[in-house]
Point group: D2
Chain length 185, copies 4
């Protein structure tokens, strides 16, 4: 099984990048092959219908689509912006939706988020769900929203809170089990 | 495979009841065993923490939980009320969440809706997604929202619009395939 | 100016009831007349279209409508249930919407919530917004979601955290100012 | 009174651009001064925390902020993308939120949308509400979502459907009245 994983933040020192690295480590320990991407690999302009008509879907979106096609599912950790989805992630979703056949159909997607706030990105996670299902994805019932992320990580990239760490382990275990089950190939 | 199906409307002549009957017929044709319930079988009071402390979870909710446990997944057709989830369905979700162990974990759920409006219940469908995932359910990527439901049905309970009918067939076929795949037992 | 205020929880010891009492105290100090209601005054059955056709809108909903009509705006503190709106509050919204002319048009509404979780009810607050606007209400830009409500209150019903207390003061001051401004009478 | 109005689509032939032009015409007839902007005036890159740290908020976002500051409220017509907010509009919101003091506080915002679908952009409208309120804006209770927009316009830019046209007139009248009322200056 192969899972695509990336952080939808490009900020240096991003908590979401820390979280996705930890998730990738945990998935590897579960004997999953992890394609840990950097969001910059998928750089693309803001969606623009005229641009699409002239030049087609940009290379960054096409690369992302290929990596999704090659994977059995995906895990993305994204900040929430202004109580909603982060624009960079929604923009990737919007370009992806222009690619035919869609690479996302029947792929399971695990939503993760990290934020310094107490809410931990839940509002962005919720805003994303209708778009992911519309792309044909199976949104995992478990969502991992890491609150107070500025205090959450140990020096070696683990979680300070053992209960949270076990919760993440359990969630990822469930996800891997479901991805195995949902193999439609 | 067995699927629980019901309309979350108790109104006589409900479009959602018409839709769930059609869905049940289509599922039966796919050789699925359908437990077609009537929402009144699960009558329960409005959620009230004091009532729960005194008397526990009401019988209607416990019956619903048993029927979910006995099924491999569920299809519910519900109206949207006031651009959000219909209170009767949310109330059932809220009581269900008080039952341990939860009967909903890892069960796939297909969201359907019918409404006389052009929007067809989409706003209620979207408002429901976070609650269903929180209960551990796999929300099907396909959602069937039937707009202008007052003009949508033939006399024998089919859909007037052949393209919509084929879309519903395709969606239910995909759902059945996924429920088979997601069998965790 | 008169504001209707209530907690949408009937549970004994409810954090939302604590919060609405504090809010009522603060509004009174701002020289607002507060109609502090108890949610049980508005007891009503689950929405049921047949019941409505037979008996009309139930008395509890009509009483709520009258109290809203007599007020210049309202503040409601409600728990979130299962990452969405609490069914009892949504049910009140759904019955209210059946009353003509609607008592809610152009009334400002301040969303408050209290919960033992870190998220503090934000997911329920967000799920409520489309329904409130559909009823014609002006949703205040400020939302007060009290996280870890089990540890948030002093013995005399104030907030332990002085910064939160000041934030609530500022939010209520802004709301009162806007209710004054939005007087359409 | 001055209102900022723009379409959040840059596509040639955009239905949202048609709709905002009609809205601007109607507002002008109500003796409102309309600042009808073109979204390209506010071109800005995708939000990127590193970019912000290096160069600050981009010029397009600062221009948008100034235009909002100079207005008493705003009307934006935006497509919905993939059952959620359109990335270009969310990106503008996300950059705007980085400007201090925020230009959006207490400004009323009228949500409009046009789409060829039957749903007319409602899902994008709903996804936007929490972000607008978080920026301090008063979201108008009325939302104008134009379904089947490909068939909705007359040759001179009016609406084919007289009932819809009257509804839009009534909504804009209510909005103008509220913007007058909400004048905090």
């Amino acid at each position: 099984m192969k899972l695509l994983a990336f952080s939808a933040s490009v900020r240096t020192g991003s908590y979401n990048t820390k979280l996705i690295r930890l998730i990738a480590r945990k998935l590897t320990a579960l004997e999953v092959e992890v394609d840990l991407a950097v969001f910059h690999e998928f750089d693309m302009p803001l969606y623009d219908g005229n641009l699409e008509a002239a030049d087609g879907v940009p290379e960054g979106a096409r690369k992302l689509a290929e990596r999704i096609r090659a994977a059995d599912g995906m895990v993305v950790s994204s900040p929430e912006f202004n109580h909603g989805v982060a624009a960079p992630l929604k923009n990737a979703v919007d370009w992806l939706s222009r690619i035919k056949p869609p690479p996302t159909v029947n792929k399971p997607y695990f939503i993760a988020s990290a934020a310094p706030s107490m809410v931990g990105g839940w509002r962005g996670a919720i805003a994303l769900m209708p778009s992911l299902t519309y792309l044909g994805m199976w949104v995992a019932p478990d969502t991992f929203c890491l609150a107070q992320a500025n205090k959450a990580f140990t020096e070696d990239g683990g979680l300070v809170d053992a209960a949270l760490d076990q919760m993440l382990d359990r969630m990822l275990g469930n996800f891997v089990r479901a991805v195995n089950a949902l193999d439609f190939s």
